[in-house]
């Protein structure tokens, strides 16, 4: 059993479990699945600075902060007690393309070359972590949701604005991967 759990889980298992989060949150308390809102609640709680966008009762939304706190603990549990003994398998073409762009570490979930404290001292590290993070926070709020709120919750609820948002997420990702990364990985 433990051996089965410690292998990487297939897409259909993950997809079903993530999909079930939608009815679970609704049944538990009429909550719509969405994660990027937590970033807004953190702003409203910690640095509201009299900005109207952050003037609301964030405590009423604290369920969302408990949820993301849980995600953090879940990440710890999975990485500590259910670790995959083998290297992450990266598709051959992606591996070769990234290798040609200068990525050397393919052992874990994230390449050490880009995501480490040492890398943070480099321009390349700053772009991938600091600029990347900024775009995630700014972009999701501007779009009104992220992969959970729009792609999964929104499309599940047949909302066409969410279909547009999801298409734009993908287009942005394709553009950055194919046109941005060859340049940015060589900084």
């Amino acid at each position: 059993m433990i051996e089965f759990i410690s292998q990487p889980w297939p897409w259909y298992v993950a997809g079903i479990l993530i999909g079930l989060t939608v009815p679970t949150l609704l049944l538990l308390g009429n909550k719509s699945f969405g994660i990027s809102s937590s970033l807004r609640h953190i702003c409203a709680a910690c640095i509201p600075a009299k900005i109207p966008f952050f003037q609301y009762d964030w405590k009423r939304e604290s369920w969302n902060l408990f949820f993301v706190g849980g995600v953090l603990i879940g990440g710890f549990i999975a990485a500590t007690f259910l670790t995959n003994p083998n290297d992450v398998v990266v598709a051959e073409k992606t591996h070769d393309q990234l290798f040609a762009l200068g990525i050397k570490d393919f052992g874990g979930l994230m390449p050490e070359d880009l995501f480490s404290w040492e890398s943070l001292a480099t321009l390349r590290g700053l772009v991938f972590m600091v600029l990347g993070g900024f775009l995630v926070g700014f972009g999701t709020r501007y779009a009104g949701g992220c992969t959970s709120g729009h792609a999964i919750m929104g499309i599940s609820n047949l909302q066409w604005p969410s279909v547009i948002a999801t298409c734009c997420f993908m287009v942005g990702g394709f553009l950055m991967t194919w046109f941005g990364l060859p340049f940015l990985l060589n900084l």
Binding site: W11, N30, L72, L120, M176
Partner: protein, 161 residues
Amino acid sequence: MSKHTENLEQTGTACVNQSEITQPWYSNIKYAVVGILFGIVFVKAEIVSWFRIQEMFRLDSFHMYGVIGTAIAVGMLSLQIIKRKKIKSIDGEQIEVHDKKFDKGQIYGGLLFGFGWALTGACPGPLFAQIGAGFTVVIVTFLSAVFGTWVYGKYNDKLPH
């Protein structure tokens, strides 16, 4: 719709809490439990992996498309059942999900988030799971994302919507 929900919607959030019931803080522990299971799935299915996101954008693996596609199918089916059977929450409240209104933010913001997704290999959810999984440097990415949300909040009335 409560005053609280109305305020939130006017200022343009997509993910609101439809519940009108005020509950003590410990009732939130159940959401933490759901979050824990969710975080485990994130790591075990390698959705938090920068490489998996790269495979997706390089059209080199079906994995992420399978995960998101299945999640949408399961979500859609469950929402249909909840709506048709008029199922109530465990507190006896009628379940309702609000519609999302279109504005240009979904295009501009969507593209910007897509850029960030390909750089960091993470949407907001996986950021939390990555930190929990021991990638402590992602705290920097996370703080930067909080700052990005704050900058949007400060200047949102000047941006095209």
